[in-house]
């Protein structure tokens, strides 16, 4: 990872803009995030929505800093309420305290006690009145201007961002938004801006990307040119982003009738020689398991990006949880070695998805990439990511040996594969156990040879350093995976600032686990704490089953829907070994 996770607590500002359906809270959040980028800063925007399909209440949560931001903060500095309707639904998600500021319009009624009892200060502004003074004016843009003033963001950055974001709605909308932002900005008296807000820097090129877009981009960078699609929250945006871009890259997106079809469609396309991927979330992954086992057995590369949500069953579709690790690792019947990977941040969704595709292609196997709602549906302002130098692709045998042995046991355990159209490479791919020629076989020696080969090609591969992100040395080792990495890196930095020595181990390649190197990386740490967002401590138990942990290792596993916050980890470590 080429950017540091170091995000000094004091140097980041957290803002939430809430409102009921149609109030434009999310639009304001999107413009705010882009403004942050134009001001030369970094930011992260999550959103929270009610259960309604359309028009429900929503909250945009933006955190920005002069350093990359990979997790939410502990608390909010600023809450802007466009109205108070249903805001209580978000109370758990927006911790406020006496240092927080609430901006609201008295015309919208009184702030609910559940919020004011935090001790937060109230700044009242005539938001509605200002908006009605502008032709076509909207309260969300007035509020946004006020946010800009409180956070000392340059007005130009805000109006340019609004112009860019709202351009599809026409010039009149852009002009009204600009005026509202400037008036909102001016409505905040001098001296009301946060003293510690990160100061705008010389603007540099930045990307504004969501985790789901990042996964889609990683797929394309990895060479994926066929995608089968069945919509499911919170993964659908990957498919929506990919659909038009595949058309521009001579690729194909095919909407399937269900996930049983989508997984088998990618197997078909991949059998045809075209790198293929599908995306889903928990319920869909459950349906795909039989098909993924087929891809493992027939050694057809197949990639699934599973954007995790609260489970089991339909669970909490719009909220994040890291609870699909067990199914991803153990969900197959039979002995079915495969890859499980997890991006550690929004930026990392790009490289890890690309890596997953490359490894699946190179090793003729299945890769399950586990992202989650907190990455997928969040947006970040990041440094433009470089194209990693992978040389991972399917090694097609253009001139196979005679006779062609599709499932030959080779030195590196990867068999020679052809694609239809190759004259001397005809074979039948099969999920039925087979011999080297590919003919069905239930002979013990054939079964053992193929099992052993499929295992060895994964175990023996050199995955390099990318299997995990390791930072720092110390007596305390914080072990984590996937999206929880951002929070753990930030907690570690705070602990270091307090004089603790901390090592962070954030695992990206979950299967096959690099057990030996992992043990070495844990080293002689006195305290090992395993952090993850699920109820059953799935990662902790997995590591124990692999005998990767010292006996004294502790688990910190907490389910969604509330995000794990860095302060939680800091407190745990400070409490001593009594978790």
């Amino acid at each position: 990872m080429n950017h540091s996770y170091f995000t000094p607590h004091e140097n980041a500002v957290s803002i939430t803009i809430t409102g009921s359906g149609g109030s434009g809270a999310v639009t304001a959040g999107l413009v705010l995030l882009e403004s942050v980028a134009r001001a030369g800063l970094y930011g992260l925007m999550g959103r929270s929505v009610g259960p309604q399909i359309r028009g429900g209440e929503s909250a945009a949560m933006v955190r920005f800093s002069s350093q990359p931001v990979d997790c939410p903060g502990d608390r909010f500095d600023l809450l802007v309420a466009l109205d108070w309707r249903n805001v209580l639904r978000f109370v758990d998600e927006i911790p406020l305290d006496e240092r927080s500021l609430i901006i609201a319009d008295p015309a919208a009624g009184d702030a609910p006690e559940a919020l004011t009892q935090s001790g937060a200060q109230l700044l009242t502004l005539p938001i509605k009145e200002i908006a009605s003074g502008v032709k076509g004016g909207r309260i969300n843009m007035v509020a946004l201007g006020a946010v800009g003033a409180v956070c000392a963001l340059p007005p130009d950055a805000m109006t340019e961002s609004a112009a860019h974001t709202l351009a599809p709605k026409g010039d009149a909308v852009v002009a009204a938004a600009t005026e509202c932002i400037l008036k909102g900005y001016d409505s905040v008296a001098e001296g009301r801006s946060f003293a510690a807000a990160p100061r705008p820097e010389r603007a540099r090129a930045r990307w504004n990307i969501s985790g789901n877009e990042a996964s889609g981009l990683g797929a394309l960078r990895g060479g994926v040119r066929f995608v089968a699609a069945y919509p499911i929250t919170p993964a659908t945006e990957i498919l929506e982003w990919l659909a038009p871009r595949l058309e521009q890259l001579d690729g194909t997106l095919l909407q399937a009738e269900d996930e049983l079809a989508s997984v088998n469609m990618i197997i078909g396309a991949s059998f045809g020689g075209v790198p293929a991927l599908t995306t889903t979330s928990g319920p869909g992954l459950s349906l795909m398991m039989e098909g993924l086992g087929l891809a493992v057995a027939s050694e057809i590369p197949a990639v699934v990006v599973n954007v995790m949500r609260g489970g089991p069953s339909t669970g909490i579709p719009t909220k994040s949880e890291q609870a699909d690790l067990n199914i991803a690792i153990y969900g197959f019947h039979g002995d079915a070695p495969h890859l499980v990977l997890a991006p550690l941040s929004i930026t990392d969704c790009i490289a890890t998805t690309q890596w997953g595709v490359g490894l699946a292609e190179r090793l003729q196997t299945v890769a399950i990439v586990l992202t989650d709602q907190s990455l997928g549906q969040a947006r970040a302002v990041i440094d433009p990511p470089e194209m990693p130098l992978f040389t991972l692709s399917r090694q097609l045998a253009d001139q196979p040996t005679d006779p062609y042995l599709r499932y030959r046991v080779t030195a590196e355990a990867v068999s020679p594969v052809t694609a239809p159209g190759t004259a001397d490479g005809i074979y039948t791919g099969d999920g039925l156990e087979h011999n080297e020629r590919g003919a069905p076989s239930s002979i013990a020696a054939d079964h053992l040879a193929q099992l052993e080969k499929r295992q060895r090609k994964l175990e023996g591969f050199d995955y390099g350093k990318r299997w995990a992100e390791i930072e720092g040395e110390g007596d305390i080792c914080l072990l984590t995976w996937g999206s929880s990495a951002g929070v753990v890196f930030e907690a570690a930095n705070r602990l270091r600032a307090q004089g603790q020595t901390v090592r962070v181990l954030a695992v990206r390649l979950l299967a096959p686990l690099r057990t030996q190197i992992l043990r070495e990386a844990i080293g002689t740490a006195q305290r090992v704490l395993v952090v993850e967002q699920n109820h059953q401590a799935q990662f902790f138990h997995y590591l124990n089953a692999q005998q990767a942990l010292p006996p004294s290792a502790e688990s910190y596993a907490r389910p969604g829907p509330l995000p794990i916050r860095p302060g939680e980890i800091v407190d745990l470590v400070q409490q001593g070994g009594d978790v």
Binding site: E34, A37, R38, A205, R206, W207, N208, I209, L217, L220, R221, R225, F226, P244, R245, Q248, L249, D250, G251, T252, L254, A256, E257, D258, L260, A261, S262, N264, M265, I266, I267, G268, A269, S270, F271, G272, G273, V274, A276, E290, G291, G293, L294, S298, P384, P420, G421, T422, A423, G425, I426, Y427, T428, G429, D430, G431, L432, G438, A439, P440
Partner: protein
């Protein structure tokens, strides 16, 4: 790559692989295999440009016995695999084959949607009105009063699935019925099915003498269908619905829009990536 001249000289047996079928003596599936290889030889298709996709069942074993590319997947999903392959590799001739259990029970949903999607695929359903591979249970096409399975000793008591009618209602653009006891006639249907642009459904009566010995009488029961092939779905519906399920021929051919992968003005990936730049 074989030349057109080489291919002209290919005989049906050249399209057979050296793997010996596991089927019981007298199984109808042998003749379906012959019909497919006859059709491929007739069309002179380059072996490497053909892929035969199946699911699981006795019938679904067929890809290994044909010397073209093949894929033997899981139970019920053959049409999904075939659709993905055809979408990604439109240059290939993609055939799908399997049993009535595979296609109409566990794979029923894919059957409906493959008909609707109208990709240029040929689907050969080898119907023996029983689950052969799992040793003789009722399938969706089994008559309601067939009581020879331990699972349904009183018969299923439920109406039979009507493959041709469902295919028509779901939007298939080519619907035919053949009989494995007439491999030449069946081969002609398969040739037409392959040549038809769009989804071609060939319903094949293919007896299972092991679990349905009474199907030996199918030879006497089959007959040509009375009506001419039509492109009118109402006439086709009438022919299919008034039929005894044993009539053979092509019921319906209509020229409907064939699914194709849409393409837009091409852009490079690095151009696409520019859109994230602020």
């Amino acid at each position: 790559m074989s030349t057109a001249q080489d291919r002209k000289n290919l005989k049906p047996k050249d399209y057979k692989s050296e793997i010996k079928p596991i089927w019981c003596p007298g199984c109808g599936h042998f003749s379906v295999l012959s019909a497919i290889t006859k059709a491929l030889a007739h069309l002179g298709l380059a072996k490497e440009q053909v892929a035969l996709i199946s699911g699981i069942g006795c019938s679904s074993r067929i890809p290994a016995y044909v010397d073209t590319y093949g894929f033997h997947g899981v139970h019920g999903r053959a049409l999904a695999v075939a659709s993905g392959l055809k979408a990604a590799r439109p240059d290939l001739t993609v055939l799908t084959a399997g049993g009535d259990g595979d296609g109409f029970s566990i794979g029923g949903n894919h059957f409906l949607h493959a008909c609707r999607r109208n990709m240029d695929l040929t689907y050969i359903a080898m119907d023996n009105e029983v689950y052969g591979m799992t040793k003789g249970q009722a399938s969706p096409t089994t008559a309601p009063d067939w009581s020879h399975s331990k699972l349904t000793p009183h018969g299923t008591g439920i109406r039979r699935f009507q493959p041709a009618a469902i295919a028509l209602a779901s939007g298939a653009s080519f619907i035919a019925r053949g009989f494995s006891g007439d491999p030449s006639g069946l081969a002609r249907l398969v040739v037409e099915a392959i040549q038809h642009p769009g989804f071609s459904f060939v319903h094949v009566l293919s007896p299972c003498p092991t679990f349905r010995p009474e199907q030996r009488a199918w030879k006497q029961q089959v007959h040509p269908c009375d009506l001419e092939t039509t492109d009118n779905p109402i006439d086709a519906a009438h022919a299919i619905q008034s039929d005894d399920g044993r009539s053979l021929g092509i019921f319906y051919i209509e020229s409907l829009p064939v699914w194709r992968s849409e393409k837009a003005a091409q852009r490079s990936l690095s151009r696409i990536e520019q859109e994230f730049l602020v």
